[in-house]
């Protein structure tokens, strides 16, 4: 096996050999490697196939910008992870990784045929091709496209890992631990700012940490040695926290940032167990220093995507940091000085290399150094083509014309096994723009720079467009002193020597003799968009960068265009003949690098996903086979399955028992609001549609609450407990909103009212007993209470004791039966329930759930807000005009009840429906029409509630129907998938219209 690790470095521990599997084959690397560096050490460049053309692709970079080396990690159904960048993944013992987007394997990929038919799949191919015939989209095209789309594979089972969230507050947050970040953090921390420094790598130091060029020195030391000292020093600072392996994902307003810390991703399987995998930091910082650095730009030329073509600086890092050379015969293609550093490093390690430079000529310390070493330099030359299918083996260069628009002279063919490209540097302005910052354009080297406009945020270092070390350090120190309003002198006497770049030449799309249509000049490696695609989009009329981006998908892959966006912009500007600075950029959206769902969700999974509210009777329900229904956050018994009954049978049994003898319901979840104050009656007058002033103490009244737009909002029974004391009940789901709404009116519209609202929903548990035998059961529980109709009539309230515990008893009914609701302090709720059950045994007291409750109330035509109403129903639409006071001058929503729209007679109105076949049960939500023949079919309304009533032995339904009030007796049709159901409009009350049962 070839070994490309050619020297020892301090970052690779050669005593710790690590074995890993890539595409099923076992390899070795060392502790300190990333997956990418270990693969390169084994001579592996080819790591994937491109998305569209399935072209062989190799490792391009050494960081977050990597477009090609994304792999699938692990093979377990619950732990596998797609789209992991090999350049960022630290190697660990037992790591299993595989290439993506290729079949059967990366070396021989069937999809590679796309490369040969590529003229047939230009930009917008999908939009253009799959438009016709229209009917093909759903059944043919979409399934096919879905099959071939996507890069990796998602896990198919729940994630077993643990994730965590943490909130922190700092005076200063420094993003990026390169040279300027370290200086900023040191200055802040030494001047008493509580400081946090985050860096996404394992160790601090950015690209300076492996810098070993003799021409770049600080205080007479190699810059890397100087920086190591600085790092040692800041580690001693007590009010500086350093978080490595931590990357900022999002920068929101008010200096609120999200950071992801990797805690176990670099550990072998057995050491990961029971540890938190990733932590999401939610950071509030008074001030933020952005020191995120810059990334090297690729160059856009024909066949610039072959394995073995990397960014020049990445070749340098693989060599000086990981000890790995990317080839043995390397060509560096550049338009700036930084590739010369790589060249000199390679030369020092004995790696043969030559430089092709776009510039006509250039002079600087670095260039002089390279020239002195005898490194061959082709100035004013351009790479026009590369060769080699699975890895580059040679390339062609040509001389550039005077204006740089074309090539001249003869092709020169050079052999190589690796090509480094450097198109200059792009400052990482993501964080700055995410925070709302704007950008300026610097023509000289074609970069977007942060425009400073905030006193709470600053960019320093190369993300601010300062590229040489002297500039970086001087400017950082000055800016931080000003930013933090301090006078730090630590770097006053620092002596920096570095090479200065004097010459620049930037060409976005490099000239070529071959017509553009026949070239493959890739811009976005991951999404396979080329210069040709961008030009086609412009030709087809797209102008906005946002549109070109979406049409060509440039910059829309998992790397979010870190390497491609600038080139796309440059080519658009050149082609359209506009200045790049005026084009603007696409929006930099969070996250900077992809986050796992686990990190975002943290601990809020499984039973912590949502709050669960249980009544104090909950255990009894569980023990008695209740099936539960979620109502808001509450778990409510839905029905009690006795002896393996199904839902229908259980509900029929429960409903029958409640009407024939007695039933009991856990009504604890209804919202309860305690209302006190001298203006309580006036307040109720204003919030309910009916009148409250005359309600006697000890009496209850049903109320309907509207929104200001006149639509029904909530309903419930309110009891007057004493002169200035009421207890309001609300629907289970509406409780919190009703309280908020009432508070809103009290605090903002009617602050003069003396009224206090307290939520007491959780303070009381409620057992509701109904049915002809309910009075007998109550009598057993409260033998001293006079239950006669005279003393305790319907809609009234009494207090009594149950074994010395106070109870509030309301005689109110939601079922139409004689009915009592017993309220007791919640801690006694379970005891109350059990005592009721015990007392009711001889009367077949049957516990019933929400489904039976719904059925019983539907028999009586009582509405459920949110089921029979949907925010568009007025009281009149519900045939409830009786509850709207004519006398009251005002109440919430009153004026809206006679707006021109609310008095329309053809509004949807609540009606009853009876099916012609009494056994036929309608589906809730089913559409209602009068005629199925004339098309389009006129939709009159829909079914809101539907049940089979065991007490009436027929199916009943409530529905909202256009002009329903006038349609009683009319025949309508419910068209279903395979039949039409005939129904007759009826009254909404199906049972006991005379309310005899209330006093049975």
């Amino acid at each position: 096996m070839p070994n490309y690790r050619i020297h020892k470095t301090e970052y690779i521990d050669e005593t710790k050999r690590v074995s890993f599997k890539y595409d099923g084959k076992t390899y070795f690397g060392y502790e300190g490697d990333t997956l990418a560096s270990a693969l390169l050490a084994n001579g592996i460049h080819l790591v994937g196939r491109s998305f569209k053309y399935h072209r062989p692709r190799g490792i391009v970079s050494c960081g977050a910008e990597e477009p090609n080396a994304i792999c699938q990690i692990g093979s377990k159904k619950d732990l596998t992870e797609p789209n992991v960048r090999a350049t960022e993944l630290e190697l660990y013992e037992g790591l299993e990784a595989s290439s993506q987007n290729c079949w059967p394997n990366v070396k021989f990929d069937i999809g590679g045929i796309n490369n040969f038919i590529s003229p047939l799949i230009p930009a917008g191919f999908y939009y253009k091709t799959f438009m016709w015939p229209k009917s093909f989209w759903k059944k043919v095209y979409e399934p096919l496209i879905r099959l071939s789309a996507g890069l990796g594979k998602s896990p198919t089972e729940p994630d077993p890992d643990i994730y965590d969230h943490k909130y922190v507050h700092y005076d200063v947050l420094v993003i990026g631990g390169g040279v300027s970040g370290i200086i900023a953090a040191k200055m802040a921390a030494k001047n008493n700012f509580k400081t946090l420094l985050v860096d996404d790598k394992k160790i601090l130091g950015g690209s300076t940490i492996y810098q070993n060029n003799e021409s770049i020195k600080i205080d007479d030391k190699l810059s890397s040695e100087w920086l190591k000292n600085e790092i040692q020093e800041i580690k001693k600072l007590s009010n500086l926290t350093i978080k490595t392996r931590t990357s900022i994902a999002a920068y929101h307003g008010y200096n609120f940032l999200l950071a992801k810390e990797n805690l176990t991703d670099h550990l072998p399987e057995e050491k990961k167990k029971n540890k938190i995998r990733q932590r999401l930091w939610k950071i509030r910082a008074k001030k933020v220093v952005i020191a995120t650095g810059s990334i090297e730009r690729p160059l856009v030329f024909n066949n610039n995507d072959r394995p073995g073509i990397l960014l020049s600086n990445s070749i340098n890092k693989y060599l000086d940091y990981y000890g790995v050379t990317c080839g043995e015969n390397i060509i560096l293609f550049t338009n700036n000085d930084s590739a010369y550093e790589t060249s000199i490093s390679l030369h020092k390690k004995g790696i043969k290399n030559i430089i092709v430079d776009l510039r006509k000529s250039a002079s600087s310390e670095l260039i002089k150094q390279a020239e002195n070493l005898g490194i061959k330099i082709y100035f004013n030359h351009v790479v026009t083509n590369t060769f080699g299918y699975r890895k580059i083996n040679s390339l062609e260069i040509m001389k550039l014309s005077e204006d740089g628009n074309t090539t001249v002279g003869n092709k020169i063919r050079l052999s190589c096994d690796c090509l480094g490209m450097s198109g200059g540097w792009t400052p990482m302005v993501h964080m700055h723009t995410q925070s709302g910052g704007k950008l300026d354009f610097r023509d000289e080297d074609q970069v977007f720079l942060p425009k400073e406009n905030s006193e709470d945020q600053i960019s320093v270092g190369s993300c601010n467009g300062d590229f040489d070390l002297e500039n970086i350090i001087d400017k950082t120190v000055n800016k931080i002193n000003k930013f933090l309003d301090i006078d730090n002198q630590d770097y006053q006497d620092t002596n920096i020597i570095c090479s200065k770049e004097n010459d620049k030449r930037n060409l976005w799309l490099l000239p070529n003799k071959i017509p553009l249509g026949k070239t493959k000049c890739f811009i976005d490696f991951q999404n396979d968009s080329t210069a040709k695609d961008i030009k086609l989009a412009l030709k087809e009329g797209f102008r906005s960068i946002e549109h070109v981006k979406r049409y060509t998908t440039t910059g829309m892959a998992t790397d979010q265009g870190k390497l491609s966006n600038m080139h796309a912009l440059g080519i658009i500007a050149d082609t359209a003949g506009v200045k790049m600075g005026t084009l603007g950029t696409t929006t930099f959206r969070p996250p900077f690098t992809p986050l796992t769902f686990g990190t975002l969700v943290g601990r809020n999974v499984g039973k912590f996903f949502e709050v669960v509210r249980k009544t104090s009777m909950h255990e009894w329900h569980v023990e008695n086979n209740a099936e539960f229904e979620n109502v808001g956050q509450w778990k409510r018994p839905w029905y009690y399955a006795k002896n393996g009954e199904n839902m229908h049978d259980a509900v029929q049994r429960e409903s029958k028992a409640a009407r024939d003898s007695a039933g009991i319901l856990d009504a604890s979840t209804l919202g309860k609001i305690d209302i006190q104050g001298t203006d309580a009656s006036e307040f109720l007058n204003r919030v309910y549609t009916n009148a409250w002033s005359k309600l006697a103490i000890g009496k209850c009244r049903y109320g309907l609450m509207l929104n200001e737009d006149g639509m029904v909002y909530d309903d419930g029974v309110t009891t007057r407990i004493s002169e200035n004391h009421y207890l309001m009940t609300t629907t289970t789901g509406g409780a919190a909103n009703v309280l908020s709404k009432l508070e809103d009116y009290l605090q903002t519209e009617w602050p003069e009212l003396d009224v206090y609202l307290t939520s007491v929903t959780d303070h009381y548990s409620t057992a509701s007993i109904c049915g002809p035998n309910s009075k007998k059961i109550l009598n057993k529980l409260f033998p001293n209470l006079d239950l006669s109709d005279e003393n305790f009539p319907h809609m009234s309230f009494k207090e009594d004791k149950l074994e010395n515990i106070n109870c509030r008893i309301m005689r109110i009914s939601f079922t139409g039966e004689l009915s009592y609701e017993i309220n007791i302090e919640s801690k006694y709720g379970n005891s109350l329930w059990k005592m009721c059950i015990e007392a009711g045994k001889e009367f077949n007291l049957t516990p019933y759930g929400t489904e039976t409750m719904h059925l019983l109330r539907a028999e009586k035509g009582f509405i459920i807000v949110g089921q029979d109403t949907d925010g568009t129903m007025t009281p009149s639409d519900l045939q409830m005009d009786w509850i709207v006071s004519k006398k009251k001058y005002d109440f919430i929503g009153k004026r809206s009840l006679y707006r021109s729209d609310t008095i329309r007679e053809d509004r949807k109105q609540l009606v009853g429906l009876l099916t012609d076949d009494p056994k036929e049960i309608l589906e809730e939500g089913a559409q209602i029409v009068s005629d199925v023949k004339s098309k389009p079919i006129d939709m009159l309304g829909h079914v809101t509630s539907s049940y089979f009533s065991p007490n009436l032995n027929k199916s009943i339904a409530l529905a909202v129907v256009r002009s329903g009030k006038t349609m009683k007796g009319k025949k309508l049709i419910i068209p279903m998938e395979n039949k039409n159901i005939n129904v007759t409009v009826s009254d909404t009350i199906f049972l006991d219209k005379e309310n005899k049962r209330l006093n049975a």
Partner: protein, 93 residues
């Protein structure tokens, strides 16, 4: 994510608050006297300003008090915070 200076509790994270839309819309004292158009003006019409906007906020996961906020919607800066019933600051118009 804003930091909002609740006039009763002090500076808190936005997640503790809920927004209640435009401020200083007074519920008409005599709604029955209003025409449909006048009532609709109160009921439906809201400004959507790019720039300085007066808003109602509720410290719903805190003291549950309503209060007013002056916010520049173009940069989300909160310029002033004041209690219900207090006069809006005059320097923002």
């Amino acid at each position: 994510m804003f930091l909002i200076n609740c006039p009763f509790c002090g500076e808190r994270d936005q997640s503790e608050f809920s927004s209640g839309g435009e401020a200083h819309i007074v519920r008409p004292k005599q709604p029955t006297e209003l025409s449909d158009d006048e009532w609709a003006e109160y009921l439906f019409m809201r400004k959507n300003i790019k720039g300085i906007q007066f808003e109602r906020w509720n410290h719903v996961h805190g003291c549950r008090k309503w209060f007013n906020v002056v916010r520049d919607t173009s940069n989300d800066k909160i310029l002033s915070v004041y209690k219900m019933g207090e006069k809006p600051p005059v320097n923002y118009k």
